[in-house]
Symmetry: C2
Subunit: 297 residues, 2 copies
């Protein structure tokens, strides 16, 4: 690999930047960042990489372009890059929802330019380059989006890049991706936001000082509900059909749960409360979490 | 304090036991445990304390009795103890829901015996004496239930006990307690169980292998949803009116959220996603969590 251009230097972009320099994956890394706040953080942190004022300035000098900006920025970015792009460029992104962004890419990207989307399953409730770390992607899944017309050599190239970053690779199409992550990621975040909002509404109405007693459950949700709002708005909007279906399934189950509680259906409740434990066992077996109790921090 | 009797030696009971011996809060601690599995763990772990075959055997030798058993056992326990109880005994419990258990206590407990309920806000998704630890209650809130007729000297006595254990004390009545914890603890657990169940239903229907991609949110809920099923069934049943109202508020908000997503109401969504961050800030200020990002374990 010669040079890489990273567009968007927040948590993910700056983590990639750190790892690329650490492992010498590219000669040079150009970085475009829109936010003045993040630019000044970049300078203060003395991050490696060459800041550029306009993304198009670095396109000609780069082979691989990685978009780490919010998905609502994709169209603008594409329109800025198009003039400088050639068929030799390889583009990928790290967005969390895929079907909608592919439509935008197909509609706007200069014909013949390669864009194979990635989705590294890594992150946190914090954002910004100050929180990035070179091992953010280590041993995490990275989903590569393989559509009918995606060429094997392109998957191979992208796969090789992410393996150097430390990720484990899996490929699937955008439709399957968006369905899976509507359940494993998008719904959980929405639920966390909704739970915290409900607690706020309750506190306001009852005038109870309840937040300070949050150690029994609310605390863990509040962490998830502190995630970046632009990123999550974009995900909810872009994947709204699947998210909407996930909400419906969730509400249907919740209403059944409520009925069981109100009519004290012992057997049915115990079945629900024990079967969910199986998922926990699977998650630990798949090394998505460790088998160590959490007593709070 | 002379002697203490602990009834139920799981996570909470065994943690209390460890701390009482460590800080020499009582001369002797008698322990009654119903489950054979926990009794053999108790012996294997060489926990301090004197195992008794029937709880009533140790009542006469004890001043303070602490019930750490599931709330559905309270009535049975009371009926067993009644004959041996005198007006000199002081009873407390560590149950997570209070109004319903107070009704059972008032109806069944021998007249004149003192029972002031406690609710230490401490625990984890694991249960059993092998997970207990002496500092489980350190710097955690312990709610003491003070009803109209509760005597100040009894609150003082119980408060002094929990302070020795390391807890911070707050008093409130059972009605307020059950309302607050329906939102900060019972609803979050129910939501976590319901989310994991929805993921299971989805996996079954779609035949997608989704659990292994759970690092993006589902993972954290699965931990909460691995909590003890008997304890949580009892909480949901005992506090069903408040839990039911909490579910209604949650569903109302979730339907609004869904509408905002489907009609892409930018302003309304961003307001929801940013306001919830304030709760996070409060939780950290109240020292209910630390201000350190969580990248998974």
């Amino acid at each position: 690999m010669k040079n890489i251009l990273i567009i968007g230097c927040g948590l993910l972009g700056s983590s990639l930047l750190r790892k690329i320099y650490k492992k010498k994956i590219a000669k040079k890394v150009f970085v475009y960042e829109k936010s003045k706040k993040n630019i000044s953080k970049f300078k203060k942190l003395k991050l490696p990489g060459i800041l550029v004022k306009r993304p198009e300035d670095a396109v000609m000098k780069s082979n691989l372009i990685i978009i780490c900006a919010p998905m609502s920025e994709y169209k603008n970015i594409i329109l800025k890059l198009n003039d400088s792009l050639t068929q030799k460029h390889f583009i990928t992104d790290v967005g969390s929802s895929k079907l909608k962004s592919l439509i935008i890419i197909r509609k706007n990207l200069k014909k013949g330019v390669i864009w194979v989307p990635s989705h590294p399953i890594a992150g946190s409730e914090v954002s910004g380059p100050e929180h990035g770390k070179e091992n953010l992607f280590k041993d995490r899944w990275c989903i590569l989006i393989k559509e009918k017309r995606t060429k094997a050599k392109h998957i191979k190239f992208l796969s090789s890049f992410w393996k150097k970053i430390g990720s484990k690779i899996v490929t699937m199409n955008s439709e399957k991706h968006d369905k899976i992550f509507s359940i494993t990621s998008h719904l959980p975040h929405l639920i966390a936001y909704n739970l915290v909002k409900s607690a706020q509404d309750f506190q306001k109405k009852q005038k109870f000082d309840l937040i300070k007693y949050s150690a029994g459950g609310l605390r863990d949700f509040s962490r998830i509900a502190a995630s970046n709002e632009i990123m999550w708005r974009d995900i909810f909007f872009d994947n709204k059909q699947n998210v909407s279906k996930a909400i419906d399934l969730f509400i249907k189950n919740l209403i059944e749960f409520k009925k069981d509680i109100n009519s004290k259906k012992n057997k049915s409740i115990l079945k629900k409360l024990t079967q969910t434990k199986k998922v926990r066992t699977q998650i630990i077996r798949f090394k998505q979490d460790i088998n160590k109790p959490d007593f709070g921090r």
